[in-house]
């Protein structure tokens, strides 16, 4: 089967101009491909380049050399070389990124934050809110918090808001960074189940995790990084 994502000779380094142009190598000649509907686990020690790799795929980081070929609904796109507006279009329609930490506009309620991606797509407010409530309920976030502001929430609650926002509108490709890191075992299982349900709907998932339980129960295949190099 044709891979949905193919990474060819990807390199990424950071030039720190503030430190007299010191260069930090984050990724060295990374090659791998992901089949449609697969769940890939990215593993490795802190600082091994997992998040850098994920951010290159989302184009938060500019990679140098190499290709990131994505099978979009409109044909193959090299994410490493595509224009900014083409990337914005992809993010709106096909690729979602869920970071480790929640970042939201202050004073927007949890429910609104979660409903956001649907509203952006033009879904009616009633329908979007309905879906947001379902998702939050499934993740076990207590109802009294729904109208609260996520900045004031605990780590686990924030993480669930983050996950809910990422999956409410099933993307073609989901990049998700440590989805279960600060959750209790029961909620962890719920998140894993929801991600597996997403896969059933046809989504492909690349997931960073340190958690053996999550990796065992969620991913089809692991890719292990060490100092920016894939070791398998």
């Amino acid at each position: 089967m044709q891979p949905i994502l193919e990474i060819v000779n990807l390199n990424k380094s950071f030039t720190m101009h503030i430190l007299q142009g010191k260069i930090i190598e984050a990724l060295v000649d990374v090659n791998f491909s992901v089949a449609e509907g697969e769940i890939i686990g990215l593993t490795g020690k802190s600082g091994s380049g997992k998040s850098s790799l994920m951010k290159c795929i989302y184009r938060t980081y500019l990679s140098e050399g190499g290709k990131i070929l994505f099978q979009s609904n409109e044909g193959t796109i090299d994410i490493a070389a595509a224009g900014d507006n083409e990337i914005l279009h992809l993010r709106k329609t096909e690729i979602n990124y869920c970071s480790q930490f929640l970042s939201v506009i202050p004073r927007v309620s949890a429910l609104q934050v979660v409903a956001q991606p649907l509203l952006k797509k033009g879904v009616t407010a009633d329908l979007a809110n309905e879906k947001a409530m379902q998702t939050l309920k499934a993740l076990g976030l207590q109802e009294t918090l729904w109208s609260g502001f996520p900045v004031t929430f605990s780590g686990g609650e924030q993480q669930r808001i983050n996950v809910a926002r990422a999956i409410i509108d099933p993307p073609k490709l989901l990049l998700i960074d440590e989805p279960t890191a600060s959750l209790d075992p029961k909620t962890k299982e719920v998140v894993i189940e929801m991600l597996l349900a997403l896969k059933k709907l046809g989504s492909t998932i690349v997931c960073i995790s340190h958690d053996e339980f999550t990796l065992d129960h969620l991913v089809n295949r692991r890719i292990h990084l060490d100092k920016g190099i894939i070791i398998n």
Partner: protein, 282 residues
């Protein structure tokens, strides 16, 4: 919806503003490489030069940079508050397609301002007439956009105040009697009164206290989503840029030193100045 790179709303090419009497080489001898925008030969000031970018419908573009980097100058030229020294601006709306709007007659420029653009200034005194009531200010914009029925104007003004969370009973009060945050919200009501496809926001939250700032930001985000209006947001505050914009231009000494997706600019800045800027976030 298919992606189309030729679908832009506004295209800016080589936009330039110079004060004084420049020489042929004024532009070559200023900019970030020289860390100055004053021409060493003529003393003329290159406020901004070689500005190129496109803005797409419904997109929010940020312009960030230190004081004097030329970010407000760009917006003021685009809104015709200030005359450009050179360059080309194309606006992809009938009947202006294919024309450099900088060279249009004053009458046409006014028509663009009244029907297709809105502006929110840092200082409410620039955007509001303080001798008019808040309702009068909104009415002014509505009249200029071609609404003449008093009843409709009052109804629309009320709706706009409601939308921006200004208490409607204060329709007939003077903006001078409002708080800073409320003045800013009246200004936003006025700017969006004519449903423009393009809105300029120049340091709109600067000088407001944090709770009011959050409210204004939330309002802007909501309006953007509801009306699908394209915005150019000028700010030196990187958190405002992060929360509101999709793409960002970074300015220094009157030039664009870096442009990219906002999250890329903030997390993987390439230019030394952007790296310094980002590492200075509190």
């Amino acid at each position: 919806m298919k992606y189309n790179s030729e679908n832009w709303l506004l295209k800016v090419e080589g936009l330039t503003k110079i004060y004084g009497n420049p020489t042929q080489t004024s532009i070559d001898k200023t900019g970030p490489l020289f860390d100055s925008n004053i021409c060493p030969d003529s003393g003329s000031i290159v406020a901004c030069a070689q500005i190129d970018f496109e803005l797409y419908p419904g997109e929010v573009l940020g312009i960030v940079g230190e004081s004097g980097s030329g970010k407000s100058t760009i917006v003021k030229m685009l809104y015709f508050d200030m005359e450009a020294s050179g360059g080309k601006v194309l606006f992809n709306r009938d009947p202006y397609i294919g024309k450099n709007i900088l060279n249009l007659s004053n009458q046409s420029k006014r028509a663009i301002r009244n029907h297709l653009m809105g502006m929110v200034y840092q200082n409410p005194r620039d955007g509001l007439n303080f001798r008019f009531t808040s309702g009068g200010n909104i009415a002014e914009k509505l009249i200029m956009a071609g609404n003449y029925n008093v009843g409709t104007i009052r109804d629309k003004s009320k709706q706009l105040l409601e939308k921006t969370e200004v208490p409607v009973p204060r329709l007939d009060d003077l903006p001078a009697h409002f708080s800073g945050g409320m003045q800013q919200r009246v200004q936003i009501s006025k700017a969006i009164a004519n449903h423009p496809p393009l809105l300029f926001l120049d340091e709109v939250t600067t000088g407001l206290d944090v709770s009011v700032q959050a409210k204004v930001l939330d309002l802007i985000r909501e309006l953007q989503q509801e009306l699908g209006v394209a915005m150019i947001v000028v700010s030196h505050d990187l958190s405002v840029i992060r929360m509101l914009t999709d793409r960002t231009l970074v300015m220094k000494n009157g030039r664009i030193v870096e442009k990219g997706l906002t999250d890329q600019i903030l997390q993987d800045p390439q230019h030394p100045y952007t790296q310094l800027l980002v590492s200075s976030i509190l």
